[in-house]
């Protein structure tokens, strides 16, 4: 068994799989069940001034027969009194001392308010704090959540207030509803945050009822934008994690969140710089038991690669993530079709013919009458489209064609041009 323990900015956890602050972590009963199932940590449902929730709350995007590709909600922070939450958190920590318990917090833009809640949750023995600057609906209208998370100054200031009293590590949870997440991440770092977590949910409207002309979901005939999450948001979250991981001005550990459903997703986040991951939608779709394969699959992956500890893969792919201007213009790949597994659906042909570079021919073999799909490699720009639409995994391979040219990036090319050097 590989060592799956992590250490995120001083917070230790038996494994990198935490439940994100959301309905799965609403109560002691739930979090204890989750720990029993194998989750290494949980970020409690955000604490703050109790609110009132509406019904209904959730909606989902189903696509092509797959349910819950994306998920959206208009739920607010906890609707249970603070003392009840604190009592259950204390009980949970006592029953599971080795598991990681994080308090998620959201209060008004007041120094005393932050001081008070930090002291209250730390008194019951949490392992860390997560400041929720991400909730995009409801709370934002009251000047909290993403209303803070969209202003670097407000983030910096509130983190500073928290750090004035906090004894445990402080994680700042960022909103993706912003143009460039590095600015808010840097602000958190400057304010003294020990780590950042991302992403919270993305502003979204799941759909419109075609017969009743109502938003989905609606509350008594009216809807409001919700927060989007689930598998569909993973690429957005992964990019934000990677961008922050490679930004020297951020420079603090990251807890990755957004669309993580399997051990594979988790490994991707870890490789791109997350020290651990948080999960919400996948648990809401299938229950806490999904963590069993997350742990098992991660362990198998590490064992097969001969890696002793999960911490050894954290950030290992970050250096490969760069700016467009640093990509080699002289690198060339082309599509190659493996006829043995091709099922002749011709989807690659039509995709290339109509929407790319018209270089996959359908050639009829005169002798057998059988059609073959052949790439004219000299015209192929290596865009990947055909291999993306091909339904049989591995049938279209993108292979490297040596160009004989030395590597040359756009930045190098521009620099050479500026200094008067010859390029092409």
């Amino acid at each position: 068994m590989a060592d799956l323990r992590i250490n995120l900015a001083g917070i230790e956890s038996p494994n990198p799989f935490w439940l994100a602050s959301a309905p799965p972590t609403n109560s002691g009963y739930q979090v204890q069940r989750a720990f029993d199932a194998g989750w290494g940590g949980a970020v409690w449902k955000t604490l703050g001034e109790p609110i009132i929730n509406v019904t209904s709350r959730f909606a989902a995007l189903h696509y092509g027969g797959q349910r819950v590709l994306g998920f959206n909600n208009i739920e607010l922070i906890t609707d249970r009194p603070l003392d009840v939450n604190l009592k259950e958190m204390a009980e949970t920590k006592k029953l599971f001392p080795k598991h990681t318990l994080i308090a998620s917090l959201m209060v008004e833009h007041k120094r005393e308010a932050w001081h008070e809640i930090v002291k209250q949750v730390e008194a019951i023995g949490v392992d860390g704090l997560e400041l929720n600057f991400g909730c995009p609906h409801g709370m934002a209208e009251r000047g909290m959540g993403s209303a803070v998370g969209q202003h670097p100054d407000l983030i910096r200031q509130q983190v500073e207030w928290v750090k004035e009293v906090a004894q445990t590590p402080v994680i700042v949870k960022l909103t993706p509803n912003i143009t460039d997440i590095r600015f808010t991440a840097r602000a958190a770092s400057q304010g003294g945050a020990d780590a950042i977590s991302m992403i919270n949910t993305i502003n979204s409207l799941i759909g419109v009822d075609l017969d009743r002309w109502l938003p989905i979901p609606h509350v008594d005939g009216k809807g409001a934008h919700g927060g989007y999450c689930g598998p569909a948001v993973k690429p957005i979250a992964l990019n934000m994690v990677a961008e922050c991981a490679r930004d020297p001005l951020v420079g603090i550990p990251i807890s990755g969140i957004g669309g993580i459903s399997t051990w594979r997703d988790a490994v991707e986040f870890l490789l791109m710089g997350a020290t651990g991951v948080q999960v919400c939608t996948a648990a809401m779709h299938h229950g806490f038991r999904i963590v069993e394969d997350m742990i098992d699959g991660l362990n198998q992956y590490l064992e097969q690669k001969g890696i002793a500890s999960v911490m050894d893969i954290v950030g290992k792919a970050v250096h490969t993530y760069s700016d467009w201007g640093n990509l080699n213009l002289n690198y060339k790949v082309v599509a190659r079709i493996h006829e043995e597994t091709c099922i002749n659906c011709n989807k690659c042909h039509i995709a290339c013919e109509d929407t790319s570079h018209q270089c996959i021919d359908i050639i009829k073999d005169q002798a057998t009458g059988k059609e073959r799909l052949v790439v004219r490699e000299e015209d192929c720009v290596g865009c990947n489209l055909c291999s993306i639409v091909c339904p049989v995994e591995g049938t279209i391979e993108m292979v490297e064609i040596p160009t004989g040219e030395p590597p040359l990036t756009w930045n190098q090319r521009q620099a050479a041009l500026a200094s008067g050097g010859a390029t092409e």
Partner: protein, 451 residues
């Protein structure tokens, strides 16, 4: 069907193709991952089906194979021979909404991966100093051995045949269950340090008393014997064969030549009969007919087996019973049959077949294959001095303990019959549970002694 000798080997290779990678992935993603899933409850060994399927979907094939084999030490064989439409697949919730998940084929997909990659799925437990002898290396015996080895026992398996695996290795036709699959399962158990003493028949090479002297507990997992006598005239003629021996020959050594172009009658309608009939076809017989004294409704062969035999061109004759076998110069030339009708139901609810007098007729055949079940291994059971009823060993159903406090029994030896065929998966489950019962007894005993 007249088959050229050289082509016949190929007919004994596995008939059902494996799932293609895309097929497996599509199917795995179709599973709903039900909670408290009915498919699990329908599996006698309670394999966590949604979990192993989820692991296929996430690309964790090692974990998938381990989940299967953990619950069922002969899970690779079961993926091929279980009557899944009556078990897991029959219980799948998607039967009501769409089509059931192909659980058997997915199970094969995952275990095939483990076989291909020579994955060592389990580790032996820390030695606890206790010893267990297992008699018989069939599904029941090897399941028990695997569990006991993981619990730290020193396990020795006595097996009469040259290879371990029981009927999975020798009795179920290779085109449904290739021998390599069964031998891989044996290998998985052997790699945990279990000693297999093959070519060693208990009662002949080793005596029951020696086992009781040398081991803390003994598990009898000897299965059943050969096909019993029909008790009719002409049974001694050349050309009268035992189905189990016939199948066994095709799994070991060269294929017999003398079936080519011949007419074969198979008597019985259980899985053994079907296997004998499809084997005969593949050996080159021209005509193969299954003769059964009841009707299609009462036969114990699984529906998929029946379907498979029909596709192989096997003919079925219902409501006929053999009266005598006819021969010339000591060789079979025909069989005389009596037509039957169904009378009153017996105590198990099956209608009893009754002969119609004067309905006798003769059919020409070259071979008669007996497949009317398996004999009980009475002498062996009695040599252990334990209680039984007509050769079915009596056990306590929760502890698998026989009337002797240190002798346990599992598998076909405790199978009572009754209108259904014995199943590999039940034998595996018995073996597993017997192992845990032995553990409970020996651990309890130690705990008491140290008090």
């Amino acid at each position: 069907m007249s088959v050229h000798t050289d082509e016949r080997r190929h007919l004994f290779e596995e008939a059902t193709p494996p799932l293609k990678p895309k097929e497996a992935l599509d199917e795995a993603n179709r599973c709903l991952y039900c909670y408290d899933a009915p498919c699990i409850k329908a599996c006698p060994t309670s394999i966590d089906i949604p979990s192993f399927i989820k692991k296929i979907a996430t690309g964790n094939l090692f974990g998938s194979a381990r989940t299967i084999m953990e619950a069922n030490p002969v899970g690779a064989s079961c993926a091929r021979v279980c009557p899944t439409e009556e078990l897991c697949e029959g219980a799948c919730v998607l039967n009501h909404a769409s089509k059931p998940i192909m659980i058997g084929l997915l199970q094969r997909h995952a275990t095939d991966w483990a076989i291909r990659n020579q994955a060592a799925l389990f580790q032996p437990g820390e030695k606890n100093g206790k010893t267990v002898a297992i008699v018989g290396a069939g599904p029941a015996g090897i399941s028990a051995a695997r569990e006991l080895a993981r619990l730290g026992y020193d396990v020795t398996v006595y097996e009469a045949k040259e290879k371990a695996g029981g009927l999975n290795t020798y009795g179920i036709v290779s085109f449904r269950l290739p021998q390599e699959v069964s031998l891989w399962e044996v290998e998985q158990v052997a790699s945990l340090g279990v000693r297999f003493l093959t070519n060693t028949r208990v009662g002949v090479d080793v005596q029951p008393e020696e086992l009781l002297q040398n081991y803390d507990a003994v598990l009898l997992a000897v299965g059943m014997g050969n096909v019993p006598q029909l008790g009719i005239e002409g049974e001694e003629l050349e050309g009268v064969l035992d189905a189990i021996t016939l199948v066994e020959e095709t799994k070991n050594g060269p294929l017999r030549e003398d079936f080519i172009g011949k007419k074969v009658a198979v008597i019985g309608a259980g899985n053994t009969a079907i296997d004998a009939a499809t084997c005969s076809k593949r050996l080159g017989a021209d005509q193969v007919q299954i003769l059964y004294r009841r009707t299609e409704k009462e036969m114990t062969a699984y529906p998929f087996e029946y379907e498979f035999a029909k596709q192989d061109g096997v003919e079925f004759r219902w409501l006929v019973a053999p009266k005598r076998i006819i021969g010339t110069d000591g060789r079979v030339t025909g069989i005389e049959l009596t037509r039957m009708k169904l009378g009153e139901a017996d105590e198990k609810g099956r209608r009893r077949p009754e002969p119609i007098s004067g309905s006798e007729y003769v059919v020409e055949v070259d071979f008669v294959v007996k497949a009317i079940g398996q004999e009980r291994l009475l002498p062996l059971i009695e040599s252990f001095g334990i209680g039984h009823s007509k050769g079915v060993i009596s056990i306590d159903p929760t502890t698998y303990r026989t009337t002797h406090p240190r002798i346990y029994a599992a598998g076909d030896v405790i199978f009572g019959g009754g209108g259904v065929d014995a199943m590999v998966v039940d034998a595996a489950n018995h073996g597993k549970r017997a192992a845990h019962a032995i553990h409970a007894a020996l651990v309890e005993k130690t705990a008491r002694e140290s008090d």
